[in-house]
């Protein structure tokens, strides 16, 4: 009998990339939760604290959109580096939206974890077998 053809490996990778990118808006709101940051600081914060794929060219237009939606506000501030920097911070509406999105995320991920628990157990077993 013919062996079933495994799915193309790049499909899973593409799905993972889309999943990470789709989380970027929430991640940016979360990065600004503690206080104001400028664009590069947001990028570095996300790179250091998340598993997201952050493409620099997408962050600034996304910040622009969040500003247009009234979720963040920006201000140019003089710095020691010799040039001013544009800082972003959450508005009250942005804080509310971040909390709402975080709640949705937590509920969704918990239900997915329940659904995926048999698969996760299986994956852990396989990993243990591979260990020397």
């Amino acid at each position: 009998m013919k062996e079933p053809t495994p799915p193309a490996p790049d499909n899973a990778e593409k799905w993972e990339v889309q999943l990470r990118k789709g989380s970027l808006e929430l991640a940016i709101l979360a990065a600004l939760w503690e206080g104001r940051l400028y664009g590069l600081e947001i990028l570095r914060h996300l790179e250091a604290n998340s598993d997201l794929i952050v493409v620099e060219g997408t962050v600034y237009p996304l910040l622009s959109r969040l500003r247009a939606l009234g979720l963040v506000e920006s201000q140019w501030v003089e710095s020691d580096s010799g040039h001013p920097r544009k800082y972003y911070r959450l508005t009250d509406a942005g804080r509310l939206r971040a909390v709402e999105m975080a709640r949705i995320w937590a509920r969704f991920s918990a239900s997915m974890n329940d659904l995926l628990s048999p698969l996760i157990r299986e994956t852990k077993k396989e990993l243990r077998k591979e260990e020397p």
Partner: protein
């Protein structure tokens, strides 16, 4: 680390190309975007890490065309949502039409509404200026009939609305223009979803 003369030239060329690509946005927005990207490049390339060299930094930002395209879409959307300007709305609809079927449908309905509303409004106004040469003329015979929006009168035809063309044209045309504008704005707010970030 201060950029070398050659790096500075590369940065300036990139920013000039970006500025050019953003030329259909408001001057204030263009200046803001370009300055923010300039500070990003300067901050990113200020260390000694080769991964943060000028070419790598510019590559991470994407080409000026790609970066401008993302900003332009958001910028037009912002203007359409915030400024409520018919000009920006039409440009936003045009851009939306280039991106999706839904955009094409909304754009075509808007064009139809604007043409019909504008036409009626102009007819109403023209009737005031030149009453004998403006009207909706109908010619009815036993075999056929025709209807014409005509300047100069229709031989043997009947001016169907007479002076009623003024209030009907102005009010109906104005209302149609307003409703078309509101429809475009509502559609953008309701259905426009920015494309997945690339």
């Amino acid at each position: 680390m201060t950029p070398t003369a050659e790096s500075q030239k590369t940065i300036d060329a990139y920013l000039a190309a970006l500025r050019k690509q953003l030329r259909d946005l408001m001057d204030e927005d263009v200046k803001d975007i370009v300055e923010e990207i300039r500070t990003h490049i300067l901050d990113k390339t200020s260390g000694d890490d080769p991964a943060d060299s000028v070419p790598c930094t510019l590559a991470a930002l994407g080409t000026p065309e790609e970066l401008a395209s993302r900003h332009r879409t958001e910028g037009l959307l912002k203007r359409a949502r915030m400024a409520r300007s018919p000009g920006y709305l039409v440009r936003s609809l045009l851009r939306w039409a280039a991106l999706s079927i839904a955009g094409i449908i909304v754009f075509l309905i808007s064009v139809l509404g604007y043409c019909l509303g504008g036409g009626l409004f102009i007819l109403g106004a023209l009737k005031l200026i030149s009453p004998h040469k403006t009207g909706i003329w109908g010619v009815f015979t036993s075999h056929n009939w025709s209807l014409a929006f005509q300047s100069g009168g229709q031989n043997g035809g009947k001016d169907l609305l007479g002076w009623w063309l003024v209030p009907i044209g102005l009010i109906l045309g104005g209302a149609l223009l307003f409703l078309t504008f509101r429809f475009g704005l509502w559609s953008i707010r309701k259905f426009w979803r920015p494309r997945a970030w690339r």
